[in-house]
């Protein structure tokens, strides 16, 4: 399950549109151990000078700068985001279009950050309808697709273990949107 604010979804989709056909990439940071993305940090794709749209890699120095900032703010990466703009190397469907599923290479790198969500937007063109999916490595190292819950804000949504009490405990008459 990935609970994510609507404005953050807009930001990552906008980034994917801006960089198309290059794969856009970035990270959503949130408070340590909260599993709650609070802000989006777009990252430079250091792997695609020719805008071929086949690969992405965080610039290592940029990644370090964001890492230091996150340490100071008691934040951590909650979601790593990137876009797919080309037909996959190994398609799962026969749509002939980019897919929002993790590739073999994506999964290799997911293995380095268990517990971090990996969100992918598939975008056929800069103005096309985006397909957003998110994935997590399960306890046995298998890839599990997140159910994505887009919310207007994080009040009244149960986002972290013990973080926010269930709505019923706060205000019995308020509809439970969690």
């Amino acid at each position: 399950m990935l609970v994510i604010r609507a404005d953050l979804v807009e930001e990552i989709v906008a980034h994917a549109r801006r960089d198309h056909p290059r794969e856009a990439c970035g990270q959503l940071l949130g408070p340590e151990e909260s599993d709650r993305p609070e802000r989006y940090v777009p990252m430079t794709n250091a792997d695609d000078a020719e805008a071929r749209g086949s690969d992405y890699r965080f610039d290592s120095r940029e990644q370090f700068a964001v890492h230091k900032q996150a340490l100071e703010n008691d934040e951590e990466p909650v979601v790593v985001f990137h876009s797919h703009t080309r037909v996959p190397r190994r398609p799962l469907t026969d749509s002939g279009r980019p897919e929002a599923y993790p590739s073999v290479k994506d999964i290799e790198y997911m293995g380095l950050q268990p517990g971090v969500h990996f969100a992918i937007v598939a975008l056929t063109g800069p103005d096309a309808e985006p397909d957003l999916r998110s994935f997590l490595l399960g306890p046995d190292g298998e890839v599990v697709e997140d159910e994505i819950q887009v919310v207007e804000n994080y009040m009244f949504s149960h986002t972290g273990a013990g973080d926010v009490p269930p709505v019923a405990a706060l205000a019995p008459d308020v509809p439970d949107r969690s």
């Binding site: 086949s54 950050q113 990996f118």
Partner: protein, 91 residues
């Protein structure tokens, strides 16, 4: 020459869960060798075929070692070594 090494989550199985450990050495190569002596198996996660693995980024005193001599990067006494997982992917 003692350095403080920050260990990413994925490698903490080698350090008993510790996120920061000390290691001795005046080059990154030596520091990694010392790390491996105290935390067996960690070197194989960092180095392959005599070079830093593509899955890790290593920084000595805030500088990416790939721009500072790689495994031959100098590690000053009291310096910091930060290991981060590389982030990459593609279609």
């Amino acid at each position: 020459m003692s350095a403080t090494v920050s260990i990413p989550t994925i490698l903490r199985t080698h350090t008993g869960g510790e996120k920061q450990v000390k290691a001795d050495g005046s080059t990154l190569q030596e520091v990694i060798a010392d790390l491996d002596a105290n935390h067996p198996g960690i070197k194989d996660r960092l180095v392959t075929d005599g070079a830093l693995h593509r899955f890790v980024n290593v920084y000595v005193n805030d500088e990416d070692v790939r721009f500072a001599g790689g495994l031959d990067a100098q590690v000053p006494d009291g310096g910091t070594v930060t290991i981060l997982p590389a982030v990459a992917g593609g279609r």
